[in-house]
Point group: C2
Chain length 304, copies 2
């Protein structure tokens, strides 16, 4: 494919659904490319180069701005469902028959929507720091953290993504350095776009009967990655995702917050690589085993 | 060290605490050996050779029978604390200055005791299908499963260890084949010994105020491995362990039961190998960061 990296991949454009989508692609062409779905207020420049370049060693990586975000035209819709539909239109316009989808925070909600709405388009899913419809946000500190003022302002992302331990703090400062290396940057997300994203989040986690039912239909092998103490989307939501998705593995990293994969980028790249490139039969066996056997083998019970 | 494997390693004996401990050791000598702590009613022959031989490729593996179990003399104590003390005596009699400890089910409870009582003896911990003191056993089906009759009797372990899906069932039958290969077998656990183990389990999960406090003192890097639906020690206990241990990573495998690591032996060996051999700074950084910083960087809050 290209010799490009996170730092050098040019911003390109493709039109779909009447929207002009901005994207960048780089890495080794082979099999399904990995499409990154970004978090609240994030642009293509908000991904950690250690993660994107790390994963690009073994596959093509595609970053994009969804509708209304940064360099992409259109408006940010106020539901995750519509964001998912826009992402699907973007992927189809680009052309790959199948992709792997990684989503972080609201990007993880969008990635679930992509898999739910276009199951044949998605091979495997990686969901980082996210939750299901009807997510339990009762312990989230998101509102107070995003309402805070920081000096320098970039330190907002230390509070959002990193644990307050010395090693978490050090990892956060290293992340900010990596993140700010690229000079020709995507424009920041507008307040109007952020407000629409916020409305979509509020709708998404509104309690509703049967809110989790859709998860049973997402049968792709899924890797869920979470920090031990996510103050934005509380950690328990990843446990709930794992318990309700038919074929999901959960990894919770120690001493980590919302951006656990930026705190341990080498470890995450290794885990994600293993998951995405795994040819272990067992990874896909579950896809075929929708039919459950009755609980096995007790031929008579002698009491308890 | 030796050319021995799970199938050929001779049973040896060492005396400590007035107990004659039976053990087997094999694998590549290098750094801390990995000591396996066995589950309820299990002997040295109950481990999955795919797991023990898999891990023995990069380190020495030590299997043993704790006091009163199978080939080891003495009586099974009725508390995990005493089982842990016996395991420590065994390890010290063998001589390594530091070990890694893997524990499965009640073996995981014993491994926690080893780390709690002899923190300097343990480098890293792997806890599979287990729980903390005061574990939530409310949804456990252990009593009815162990009280059942099975044809053939070995199929008890399908119900205990494997998921009822077709792939779980197939993995279980393959495990039983591997497990029964060795001919000079450790004697089965006596009913008296099993009764003492059962009493220890019941005491262990009795609710008690502050039951989880001891976990804060286990600062070793810990890998917790669990199946998505453990019917013996309910899965949520691994989540609770992760949330309360200072430096623990949790992996939950999909479509898996109590013996998740026997259902995905290659995947587990790969994950455990990565964990045990990791030289990532971050693995050990947390050990040094007992001092938490105040929540970072909000210099003023503008309200929510």
């Amino acid at each position: 494919m290209t010799e490009h990296t996170h730092q050098t991949a040019p911003t390109q454009f493709v039109e779909a659904n009447g929207i002009r989508f901005a994207y960048r692609r780089f890495g080794k062409a082979s099999g399904a490319p990995l499409v990154f779905n970004q978090h609240f207020r994030g642009t293509m420049d908000y991904w950690d180069p250690a993660v994107t370049d790390g994963l690009a060693k073994n596959r093509e990586v595609i970053l994009f701005d969804n509708a209304g975000v940064s360099s992409t035209s259109g408006r940010v819709p106020t539901t995750m469902q519509e964001m998912g539909a826009n992402a699907i239109a973007f992927i189809k316009a680009l052309g790959p028959a199948k992709v792997d989808a990684l989503g972080f925070s609201i990007g993880g909600m969008v990635a679930q929507e992509i898999a739910a709405q276009a199951p044949d388009l998605v091979r495997r899913l990686i969901l980082v720091g996210t939750g299901p419809r009807g997510a339990d946000m009762s312990t989230s500190k998101s509102a107070e953290i995003f309402a805070g003022a920081y000096d320098p302002p970039e330190h907002l992302w230390l509070a959002v993504h990193f644990s307050p331990s010395p090693s978490g703090r050090a990892a956060g400062l290293a992340f900010l350095k990596r993140k700010l290396l690229r000079k020709d940057r995507d424009p920041e997300v507008s307040d109007e776009a952020a407000a629409a994203q916020r409305e979509a989040i509020t709708k998404y986690y509104a309690p509703a009967a049967g809110a989790l039912n859709y998860l049973k239909e997402i049968r792709q092998p899924t890797l869920i990655v979470q920090g031990s103490n996510d103050v934005i989307v509380p950690t328990v939501n990843s446990y709930i995702l794992q318990q309700n998705l038919p074929n999901a593995e959960l990894i919770v990293y120690p001493d980590a917050n919302h951006g656990s994969f930026y705190q341990y980028p080498e470890l995450f790249v290794s885990d994600a690589d293993q998951f995405l490139s795994s040819t272990l039969q067992e990874r896909d066996a579950n896809l075929k085993s929708s039919e459950r056997l009755p609980f096995p083998s007790i031929v008579s019970a002698t009491g308890v």
